[in-house]
């Protein structure tokens, strides 16, 4: 069977070689990079602009951004027909291609996030390593931890006030350089689509900006959601543990969701959401007004076949409803959870409607293609390019975050920054 045949349904006249070649993994790719970029921008708000109210969420989103980073590459790798050659994009880049810059953009960004994290957590590394160093009769895991944290200090053991002040300055510089690079990383993902002149739905110079705005929206939403959920889970766990050991602090005593942090962050989310929505509607309006040759088929797709996906789920449930939920006074934790979930779904649907919708019509403008998402995999291909593959990509960042949290404790009460 030819690649794409398993999940493509053709209607009317479609060229014989046309199939849905870019599937759910390519929906996941911009979704994940968007979350990476958005989470980083959110953390930078605190570090660069000194918005103190966002301290907890900033540290959380920085670590989360780092956890998401390797996952942004996974969908690309999964969709390649020759994944073993994927590294060639970095080894033999063909610079006229928009994808060729991926290695450069991605690794630059990765290095910035890694070094910022290092400066934020250097004090923690040194303190952990020193506390383990003085301990006698270390058991194996402790010896391992000691070696790990000693290595992580990279030989910089100085935690004097002067040195920490320098760290703080470095964090600021890294966060400030990181913002344009994060935007570049994601704007560039938008350019990959926006520059495909053969696809009537994708080709628009606005695409990088639409991508950046929606990235910030999704990144903030995910961070707020995870922040609330993890804080609540911690509270539950402490309450549960306290039943056996009453000496532990009560759920009321431990740190809980700081509502002002959520409200503050929600403000930035609303701003980015309005910008994204504005750009998308401008694009739609322009297409409708200019009426290019392709408009007829694009219109019949978005106003017809994809109407529910585009206008009901994406714009309605995914943009408008959360906008109202956030703008209504006295934001509660529960309302924030619902709104952030809806926002995330809205951004995901935006990617879906773009990637799958863009392939929803034939280049002949005389037929349509429908993506029949493989839910139960029949072979490796339908696993990778179906729902199970996408779920795998969706779960991965949380697993990585869980691991990273052991090294970069997000919920520790105090640290240098």
């Amino acid at each position: 069977m030819v690649h794409g045949e398993a999940w493509t349904i053709k209607e009317l006249f479609v060229y014989p070689n046309e199939y849905i070649y870019w599937t759910i993994q390519i929906v996941m790719y911009p979704f994940m990079t968007g979350l990476v970029a958005g989470a980083f921008v959110l953390s930078s708000l605190y570090h660069v602009f000194g918005i103190r109210q966002m301290k907890d969420i900033a540290r959380f989103s920085l670590v989360f951004s780092f956890a998401l980073l390797p996952v942004a590459m996974v969908p690309l790798q999964l969709h390649l027909q020759h994944p073993e050659r994927g590294i060639e994009v970095m080894l033999t880049p063909h610079f006229t291609s928009a994808i060729a810059a991926f290695g450069i953009a991605f690794s630059t960004y990765g290095m910035i996030v890694a070094s910022e994290l290092w400066f934020v957590y250097r004090r923690h590394f040194v303190e952990t390593a020193l506390s383990l160093k003085v301990k006698r009769n270390k058991n194996l895991p402790e010896r391992g931890r000691y070696l790990l944290f000693s290595a992580l200090t990279l030989g910089a053991w100085d935690v004097s006030e002067h040195a920490l002040a320098k760290d703080e300055k470095a964090v600021k510089v890294m966060a400030a350089t990181g913002i344009p690079v994060a935007c570049l990383l994601h704007g560039y993902a938008g350019f990959i689509f926006g520059s495909v002149k053969a696809n009537a739905l994708w080709t628009t110079p606005l695409m990088p900006f639409i991508f950046i705005c929606s990235a910030v929206v999704s990144g903030i939403a995910l961070c707020v959601l995870c922040y609330i959920v993890t804080m609540e889970i911690r509270k539950l766990i402490v309450g549960w543990k306290r039943k056996n050991d009453p000496s532990l602090p009560t759920p009321e005593q431990i740190k809980t969701v700081e509502m002002y942090e959520v409200t503050m962050t929600a403000k930035y989310l609303v701003m980015a959401l309005l910008a994204a929505l504005g750009l998308e509607l401008l694009d739609l309006l322009f297409r409708d007004y200019a009426k290019f040759r392709s408009w007829e088929i694009v219109r019949s797709l978005i106003y017809g076949k994809d109407f529910v996906n585009v206008f009901v789920i994406q714009y309605g449930l995914g943009n408008l409803v959360p906008l109202i939920l956030f703008l209504l006074p006295r934001l509660t934790v529960r309302r924030a959870i619902v709104a952030t979930l809806l926002v995330l779904m809205g951004v995901f649907m935006m990617r879906w409607n773009l990637v799958i919708g863009g392939q929803g019509f034939s280049a002949s403008f005389a037929g349509f293609m429908h993506y029949d998402l493989p839910i139960i995999p029949r072979d490796i291909e339908t696993f990778k390019e179906g729902l199970p593959g996408a779920i795998l990509v969706g779960i991965l960042p949380f697993v990585i975050f869980w691991g990273l949290n052991k090294i970069f404790p997000v919920f520790k009460g105090e640290d240098s920054h």
């Binding site: 349904i9 390649l80 027909q81 991926f102």
Partner: protein, 260 residues
Amino acid sequence: MNRRDFLKNSITVIAGLAVPLSALELISPRTLLARKEDGSAVRWAFLVDTQACVGCGFCVKACKTENEIPYEAGITRTWVERYVVTGKGKSCVDSPQGGREGFTSDRIDQGEEGHRELARDDVEKAFFVPKLCNHCESPACVQVCPVGATYQTPDGVVLVDRKHCIGCAYCIMACPYGVRSFHPVHKTAEKCTFCYHRITKGMKTACVDACPFGTRKIGNLRNPDDPVTKTIMSGRVGVLKEEYGTKPQVYYLALSREVK
């Protein structure tokens, strides 16, 4: 030897080694020819006479056999489209299995919609249009390949290096003509090569040889005496989707406005 001397000597050795290596590359006549603008004495182009095509599908079959594309695979390097225009100006198009079995039925294939029956009296005009890669002068597929696995030869043919293609499908997305696909066995980007293995040995492409009606012709645009060049230069020819700026090199005689 101290460190300074060691470094100095290393640089000298590397520089010394680099000179003969770069010289070797410089004198490669192939590279020189490719770098020189318009250096090639050959520019392959294709001519399709849509009025001569009867939709027998021999070209599609011949191509599949010659280029080892599994016969039952749902992809094809070349295909034939049937256009049926009704009196009300509505056009119906189909190309079942790329038209490889010929168009023996009056019913129009509409994919999931099933088949469409058209009354013979309603038909105003009907014709066939063979399609293949346009081997564009500025190919979008070559531009977007992230690893340079697809490239243009000095004589204008766009090819794919199966050993290097990563299978990202960006080239498939970038082609406005839908001529690219994935090979079901090699799992790499697949496309018409103008039968490069044949034309560079003085033969015609498999589809040209298979066409009993002279619909398909291949020629060298750099040769003014080539009959194909003469027709393209002096005849009324059209190309597909000129608006994309890809400068396609498959020319059509009697191209109708309905052609997608």
